[in-house]
């Protein structure tokens, strides 16, 4: 005998479900659950802004308070997506301004955000609290001024690694004198100097400030007054961390740091001068996250600092740390979960530092909790990769960039197939993988066979034939995002696995061998995909059908071909899709 709870009870229960997956599951149970759930969903995540339209979202979820939207494909970070490609947020803001007056939170990633959009946000949502712009572009400091001036309840303003046209630092002064709600400010990506007195006054009048990440233009001698004004800071990012060493500045800094008893995360450190690093020693024992990726200090100074951080969970650092420094890391920082080592000289022909595969092997051995790795280096071996895999079966993210494309195992000159094969075989929970070095189709066979939890795979200069791509598409059950550059993958694997593409968020292929004809065919077979050809040589019709396209971006969507394409992007079979919908 069927009975049901009153709506209010179900709504109350659903409120405990925060994960999208759970909410989606709940809405599939029956029609009434679908209706109740959709009316009480407060947070939505849109992984691809073109997979759905604002209108569809708003129609289904009328009571949203927080949105997170992602735009351009990941390879846009490396300049592979031409300017003008798309991912404009304005249509979303404009639609939400009409339908979500109580919206509190907007988080955007890789989207084009104009000053107009920022102004609209600042004026449309009376209770607006959180704005996070991660790797966005298209706005100026004028847009920030609107946010500062109009968002009376703003708690968080995080500009991430966005590209902001920095007209002046004056925007900060637009926060009204009675504005006190700021909890988090990240302006580290900005170039120009803000008025320091305005900044200081802002910090002093916001008692709940927990995160403050300054930009490079704030000099080290100004830091003490800010730290003293915000003793409850949990996360702090310095500006340029250099000056001629002066004892009073140094001692002020030490005193100011020591007043911050809750400080856990540090970043900034542009142009860091070793002499000023010891000023932080008093907080090191509590530090869980350290971003030194802008600091060009040498290994001994890095070692000195790191050896005082036993609770370190996350370290981002330049390859100046060298193998020796990583050895120290592995012996002092047993709680380490995430390591990112960036190249100090990515374009140099010769190595400038002594950082090899050994450093990573040592850390994999010494840090039992290590789960997330991003590592740039210049040599690798299968033996090292196998050792790493055996040491750390708990790896979740493994992104290895051997700087020289197609570099083989430097000891045996073999491809690195078996090494990466060991990674996917041992690390059963692996969700993200980036490959590099000399790789044949064999590595993809291993990946297809073992990487069952893999969600995102990045490939460059790898493989021999379509078989490689076929292994991945047919074997990786959890695959959501696949991005490929400069691989000899063509039509066959793509067409044979067309249905797979509908189970994924997106596929990016650039400088591969997929022909125009195959793109058209794929679009015909799969009307729920947008098959977008990006080609700056002009319309593909001007070239033979067998001619490979420059770039290809395929994604599933419920809202058909997009209408904001620039003149170097074409949606395959657009007319047919429009006729069908």
């Amino acid at each position: 005998m069927a009975y049901s709870f009153p709506e209010e009870v179900l709504e109350y229960v659903f409120a405990f479900l925060s994960y999208d997956k759970d909410r989606n599951a709940v809405s599939l149970v029956c029609k009434s659950w679908y209706e109740i759930e959709r009316c009480c969903r407060r947070r939505i995540f849109i992984g691809n802004c073109y997979a759905v339209s604002p209108q569809i979202v708003i129609r289904r979820f009328p009571e949203v308070r927080a949105v997170k939207i992602k735009g351009k494909p990941h390879f846009a970070d490396f300049n592979l997506v031409p300017e003008g490609w798309g991912a404009y947020v304005y249509p979303w803001i404009s639609a939400m301004a009409r339908s979500y007056p109580w919206l509190e939170e907007i988080k955007l990633k890789r989207m084009v955000v104009t000053d107009e959009s920022l102004e609209l946000i600042s004026k449309s949502f009376k209770n607006f609290k959180i704005l996070v712009l991660s790797s966005c572009e298209g706005f100026t400091t004028d847009g920030l001024a609107s946010i500062a001036a109009n968002c009376r309840n703003l708690r968080e303003l995080d500009l991430g690694e966005s590209e902001v046209e920095d007209l002046s630092g004056h925007w900060l002064s637009h926060f009204p004198d009675n504005f006190t709600s700021l909890v988090s400010l990240n302006m580290s990506c900005l170039g120009s100097e803000v008025s320091f007195s305005a900044l200081e006054r802002l910090v002093l009048r916001c008692p709940n400030l927990r995160t403050l990440r300054l930009n490079r233009a704030v000099p080290v001698e100004k830091l003490p007054s800010l730290l003293r004004g915000a003793p409850k800071l949990v996360e702090f990012g310095t500006g340029a961390y250099s000056a001629e060493i002066q004892t009073d500045i140094f001692s002020n800094l030490v005193e100011a740091f020591s007043g911050c008893k809750q400080l856990k995360r540090l970043s900034g450190f542009w142009d860091a001068v070793p002499a000023y690093l010891p000023a932080m020693y008093c907080v090191c024992s509590r530090i869980t996250s350290l971003n030194l990726s802008y600091a060009t200090v040498q290994s001994p100074d890095l070692v000195e600092l790191i050896s005082q951080c036993p609770n370190l969970k996350c370290l981002w650092v330049l390859d100046h740390i060298e193998d020796a420094g990583l050895k120290v890391l592995s012996s002092y920082c047993k709680d380490l979960q995430e390591l990112r080592v960036f190249p100090s000289d990515p374009y140099g022909a010769e190595p400038n530092v002594s950082l090899t595969e050994e450093g990573l092997v040592t850390v994999s051995a010494g840090c039992p909790k290590l789960q997330s790795v991003l590592y740039f280096c210049r040599q690798m071996s299968n033996a090292a990769l196998i050792t790493i895999a055996r040491n750390r079966p708990n790896l979740i993210r493994f992104r290895l960039c051997i700087i020289d494309p197609q570099a083989p195992d430097y000891l045996t000159l073999d491809p690195l197939d078996t090494g990466f094969g060991a990674i996917v075989e041992h690390c059963k929970e692996l969700r993200r993988l980036s490959l590099s070095g000399l790789l044949t189709d064999r590595v993809f066979e291993y990946i297809g066979t073992h990487a069952k939890k893999l969600e995102m795979l990045s490939i460059a200069f790898a493989g021999d034939s379509d078989l490689g791509l076929h292994h991945v598409l047919s074997g990786c059950e959890s695959l959501r995002k696949l991005e490929i550059m400069d691989c000899p993958f063509g039509d066959k694997a793509l067409l044979a696995n067309a249905a797979k593409l509908e189970t994924m968020r997106s596929l990016w292929m650039s400088s591969c061998s997929v022909s125009y004809g195959a793109c058209k065919l794929l679009a015909q077979k799969m009307p729920k995909l947008n098959v977008e050809v990006i080609d700056e040589r002009g319309h593909p019709d001007l070239r033979p059908e067998t001619c490979p396209v420059e770039k290809l971006y395929i994604y599933r969507t419920v809202s058909g071909p997009r209408v904001d394409k620039p003149d170097f992007v074409w949606t395959m079979d657009e007319d047919a899709v429009l006729r069908l919908s």
Binding site: S458, A460, A496, S513, A518, T546
Partner: protein, 237 residues
Amino acid sequence: MTMISEEHKKEKLGFEETELRLGLPGGGGIINGDLVKNTNANGKRGYTQTVDLKLNLALKETEKGENLQKEKNLISCSNDSVKPSPKAQVVGWPPVRSFRKNIVAVQKSSSEEGGGGATTFVKVSMDGAPYLRKVDLNMYKSYQDLYGALGKMFSSFTMGKCDSQGVMDFMNESKLMDLLNGSDFVPTYEDKDGDWMLVGDVPWEMFVGSCKRLRIMKGTEAIGLAPRAMEKCKNRS
């Protein structure tokens, strides 16, 4: 290398079921060979270092033992004789974000001449165009190169003939006019000091080092810039 089992697998996958039967890409038609320098016939951008090509060929052979010595020799020869081309030739590799590229570059630029090779992406806007583009100045060796690329990028937008005689004369003198012949658009740039200058003023390397962004202006607006550029020219000669 088990070639045999790979063939066997290909059969099992039933590739013959795929509807489309296409020839190898590039067999049919070749795109403008000179246009995008990174693209070749089979869609692969030739990472055209001799070292890599030789290495790949060698490794495809079944008996790696025999070849180990040969390969080692190849590598040592190649390192000596072939100076590796700047890595920046390949867009997107290595996968380093722009704001991370210049950390050490600042320190190096004074000491090294041609070895750096970092990318220098600048925005290019054109008056009247609906969106702007980005170019990597390090991809080009001369103003002519750059103009060619800009011309192709913005070719859909150029229109009309130049009627500003003063500007035309100046430009013709430098012979940098593929894009601008027959149009009234003038390339300008913003330099490190924030000043807007006519492109072509200074030696190419100096331009690459000081250019922050490009703007292709309507000729009428650029007239104000011409005198300054002319002055600089006169001062130099």
